[in-house]
């Protein structure tokens, strides 16, 4: 490699996708935060005379079968959906990263048992597994978060384990063992910082999956409960009116798409930005 000029002092330029993704996610997070106060109508206020109105100057996204303002409901609903996506992913991350690091680093029997357990979890379709976890007790939000989080643990475990397996072969890990470092130090200080990029990308993908799965569970009546507004629940309720009131399903769906795309952009951008090799731009 020709020795390029060292760009130690160079200003870090933010990747474009990071900026775009962060903008979208921030906007939605802001909506979630201040939604109830800026919404034109309370999300659960009935306007019986204005049932099933198409989008107009008063009701920007139209109204539903009870005459509730869809725009207000979408705005307020972002709170639940985002909370569910992020919290569930946090659950998967905490569980998945720890298990993946252990499986990849200790190998042998621990690895074998953990991975077979993950295979078991993965053999259930996500929705069924979510239902299984939720069905035994009365539904509530934190249980949905936990269920969705557990469903996506195997994906995080597999990614973490494969990076860990690779990194554990590196000579700097041997160097750490030659200093007699503890397993904890090696896992969390030597391996994890290098394992982050693929995990973050995977996790950002999982946030979107979690939002979708949460929506699906709400759709099936196991997640958010009426009358609270959740995008999945809204689409579920809109199903019976699809032929008369497309806006009831389309707007929550669109916002969900936007969130998913934004979070994915943010994940990609983060990966580029966090990697020191890419950050300093070698030729």
């Amino acid at each position: 490699m020709p020795a390029g000029p060292l760009e130690t002092g160079a200003r870090r330029r933010l990747p474009g996708n990071l900026v775009a993704g962060a903008a979208v996610v921030l906007a939605i997070a802001l909506a979630a935060l201040v939604g109830p106060w800026v919404a034109p109508f309370p999300y659960d206020e009935f306007h019986i005379r204005d049932r099933l109105q198409a989008p107009n100057a008063l009701y920007w996204f139209g109204t539903d079968e009870y005459g509730r303002d869809v725009f207000s409901r979408v705005l307020v609903g972002s709170r639940l959906s985002l909370l569910l996506g992020v919290a569930a992913t946090a659950v998967s991350l905490v569980g998945g990263v720890a298990l993946g690091l252990a499986a990849g680093f200790f190998r042998g029997r621990i690895d074998e048992w953990l991975m077979r357990l993950m295979d078991l979890l993965m053999s259930f379709p996500p929705v069924i597994l979510g239902l299984l976890i939720l069905a035994v007790t009365p539904p509530s939000l934190w249980k949905t978060v936990l269920a969705v989080g557990i469903v996506y643990i195997p994906a995080i475990v597999r990614v973490t384990r494969s990076v860990t397996l690779e990194l554990a072969q590196e000579e700097f890990i041997l160097a750490a063992r030659a200093r007699g470092e503890s397993a904890g130090y090696i896992l969390f200080r030597e391996i994890l910082p290098n394992a982050w990029p693929p995990i973050i990308v995977e996790a950002s993908l999982r946030v979107t999956f979690a939002i979708l799965l949460g929506a699906a569970l709400s759709f099936l009546g196991m997640g958010a409960q009426p009358p609270s507004s959740d995008w999945g629940l809204m689409i579920s309720e809109a199903r019976s009116y699809l032929d008369q009131a497309w806006w009831m399903a389309v707007f929550p769906g669109l916002v969900m798409c936007l969130t998913v795309v934004g979070i994915n952009l943010l994940g990609d951008g983060l990966r580029e930005w966090l990697d020191p090799r890419l950050r300093h731009g070698g030729a």
């Binding site: 000029p5 700097f172 041997l174 030659a178």
Partner: protein
């Protein structure tokens, strides 16, 4: 020396540049050479010199972002610059074929070898599948593969590295090319295998009148195979000419520097190496004038101003240097500041001192395959039905190894890949747990000790790794990397630690400002120095160097070898120096162990091991080393299969030994012969027979640097 006939390949003023985000990168500039039919031309240079780019440019395999121009680029009378993509595709493999460096990735793992050799014949020569397969078997036979019918049906992973490289050469020859381009074809192979591949290339060249363009960083290999050589530096040719003359009497300062950096395989006085200072120029902004002037000890103001033209110091030679004629009498060593002999004060500590590291009868075995592979059927006598059995097979990586290292001593450990030398180094540091045996470091027994009990030893015994890219955590700064051992062992904190990191960086000849850099901002040699500084941080007394200089370019390698030697002398360090490179061992080590399949077959001081009597394996290793000074008759070892095992009886070297005596070698463990105090050879031959062997190693004339 005008070529007697029209050249097969003519390259004139070849330039390749890449447009990058940071500007235009000048990869090749004004490269010219010609190659006659049946000639072998070596393209030599360090990494980044543009050697491989030349090959890719000839084959038309440069990426779309590369801009290529040339005054002349002709092959067999055809202008390569005006060919259509389809004609180029026909030419690749048909007229010229390439063999890449790594046989392990160049063959498709999911196709039988025979199919891969036959494929070009179907494409280029229009043969039918069955004809091509028959021809492929013939070709495999020609490249020296035993039982070609069987090999043709095998998959690449079933062949050893040497066999894979042979199969790859067969693939390249399948379409009967006139020019064979080889890009570092032997770099991934052991010396004994490398010697065989070079033999094969030489005979192919004679038999088929094949022209060879041989790309390598290894000057010894080029000297062995090539008629002429072309030395590249930073994308420019700096010297060309007949190999023998160029290496005997190099005209360009860079060529001289390269040769002075090479450790020599010789007994006797070991002159300090004289590496080339500095690093390769930035090809985005090449320096004005001569590209080499920033590193040249012969430089004068003129070199900075204008790029030198070629002049000819002799028949068939050309050199790009303003001062080529004036500097003839001044050797590189004199120019860079004089060669200091290594001998003074060099030896290990007094004999009376107890050894620092003692290893006794160390054993480690690995189960081959998984649980299910060991499962089989056995049919005991007297029973009708066979019954299941579980009999795993083992690889004995360490099979009773003993050694001792005195304070301040360098113990060399040589052997081919897979002989267990890395396992030994790591087991001594308890990075691998031994199955049996004893390890004592500074009087402390650690073979079975707990991690807590080993901790004081971890401070005393450290390790330097082979691969500079893998040995430093890419997420940490150099300061954090070197500072961690200080923190870990509570040696220094805060400002004191920062000062100590600076001292350590200076100790490995870097400046303290490196502390804030990340590994990817360093060159290979700098990374290796940081790796050494990290190992030195705890003030150890013993270092294991596992192929610590093998991945480095010669000039960088020389600098690191000098550094290690200086550190040994300043700090009284003891080394276990693991390497496959006998020249490096001859240069640095006081004593040597020769290892074969988990056991030691010869040990002694460097002078004892490099002079007869030899163990037959040592003799074969020594004679296989390609060198730039003289060539001796060579011993060829048979190649072993990829999973050859030592049955545990007789001599470990029996299957490949060229001097095998017969039954006794297969059944009886050879006794140790002791020709001199401290020199042991495990062999059934009589000492007199082993001593009567002519030595493949030169005696260094005292005081003469080369």
């Amino acid at each position: 020396m005008a070529p007697p006939e029209a050249p097969l390949l003519e390259v004139e003023d070849l330039c390749v540049s890449y447009a990058t985000a940071a500007g235009v990168l000048r990869a090749l500039h004004g490269v010219s050479f010609r190659l006659a039919p049946g000639e072998a031309l070596g393209l030599a240079g360090e990494s980044g010199s543009g050697k491989s780019t030349v090959a890719l440019a000839l084959l038309g395999l440069l990426g779309p972002e590369a801009a290529l121009s040339a005054r002349r680029l002709r092959f067999g009378g055809r202008d390569l610059l005006s060919l259509s993509p389809e004609e180029k595709r026909r030419l690749r493999g048909g007229g010229m074929a390439i063999v890449f460096q790594d046989p392990f990735t160049a063959l498709n793992p999911s196709l039988p070898v025979g199919r891969q050799v036959a494929e070009p014949m179907v494409f280029h020569r229009g043969l039918a599948e069955s004809e091509a397969l028959a021809a492929a078997i013939g070709l495999l036979h020609q490249v020296g593969i035993p039982r070609p019918e069987v090999v043709a049906r095998s998959y690449p992973h079933q062949l050893s590295g040497g066999m894979q490289q042979r199969a790859l050469i067969a693939t390249a020859l399948a379409a009967e090319p006139e020019l064979l381009i080889l890009d570092e074809p032997t770099t991934a192979l052991d010396v004994t295998i490398e010697a065989q591949i070079l033999d094969l290339l030489e005979s192919l060249r004679r038999m088929r009148r094949l022209s060879i363009l041989f790309i390598s960083h290894n000057l010894g290999v080029i000297h062995r195979l090539c008629d002429s050589v072309c030395i590249l530096y930073a994308g420019e040719v700096c010297e060309t000419g007949p190999t023998k003359t160029v290496f005997r009497d190099p005209a360009h300062p860079y060529t001289r520097g390269l040769l002075a950096s090479l450790p020599r395989l010789a007994v006797g006085d070991r002159p300090r190496l004289s590496p080339i200072p500095g690093t390769l120029p930035d090809l985005l902004e090449p320096p004005p004038g001569c590209l080499f002037h920033p590193r040249c000890p012969y430089g004068e103001p003129r070199c900075r101003r204008a790029s030198p033209l070629f002049s000819s110091p002799g028949p068939g030679r050309a050199v790009r240097c303003w001062r080529a004629e004036e500097i003839g009498g001044v050797s590189w060593e004199e120019a860079v500041g004089g060669a200091r002999p290594l001998a003074a004060g060099g030896g290990p500590a007094e004999k009376a001192a107890p050894p620092l590291v003692v290893v006794r009868d160390l054993r480690k075995r690995y189960r081959l395959g998984g649980f299910w592979d060991a499962l089989g059927w056995e049919k005991p006598a007297g029973r009708k039905l066979p019954r299941p059995s579980w009999a795993p097979r083992f690889l004995h990586a360490l099979d009773g190894v003993s050694l001792a290292i005195a304070p301040g001593e360098v113990l060399g450990l040589v052997g081919e890949s897979g002989c267990g030398k890395t396992t030994l180094g790591r087991t001594i540091l308890r990075l691998i747990d031994p199955d049996d045996g004893a390890i004592a470091v500074d009087g402390r027994e650690i073979a079975r000790a707990s991690e807590r009990e080993i901790r004081p030893v971890r401070r005393l015994a450290q390790i330097v790794f082979q691969n500079p890219d893998s040995s430093l955590n890419p997420r940490k700064t150099v300061g954090e990397i070197i500072g961690r051992p200080l923190e870990r062992f509570g040696l220094a904190t805060g400002a004191q630690a920062r000062r100590r990191v600076g001292e350590l960086l200076e100790m490995v000849r870097l400046t303290p400002s490196y502390a804030s850099r990340y590994p990817h901002q360093l060159s290979g040699g700098e990374k290796q120095r940081v790796g050494i500084a990290r190992a030195l941080a705890t003030s150890p007394r013993f270092l294991v160097c596992d192929e610590a200089v093998s991945a480095l370019d010669v000039s960088v390698q020389a600098a690191v070898l000098n550094l290690l030697e200086d550190l040994r002398r300043e700090l009284g360090l003891a080394f276990l120096f693991i390497t496959h490179d006998l020249s490096v061992v001859a240069h640095l080590a006081h004593r040597v162990l020769v290892m074969y399949r988990g056991g030691i077959c010869e040990e002694g001081t460097i002078a004892q091991v490099l002079r007869p009597p030899f163990h037959p394996y040592t003799e074969a290793l020594l004679s296989a080393v390609p060198r730039i000074d003289g060539g001796r008759s060579r011993i060829r070892l048979r190649e072993e299969g990829p999973a050859a095992e030592f049955a545990g009886r007789g001599c470990r070297f029996q299957q490949r030994c060229p001097r095998i005596l017969g039954e006794i070698c297969r059944t009886v463990t050879p006794p140790p012969l002791e020709p001199a105090a401290g020199h042991r050879i495990l062999c059934h031959h009589r000492l007199e027979t082993l001593a009567a062997v002519p030595s493949p190693v030169d005696e260094a004339a005292p005081g003469a640097p080369s």
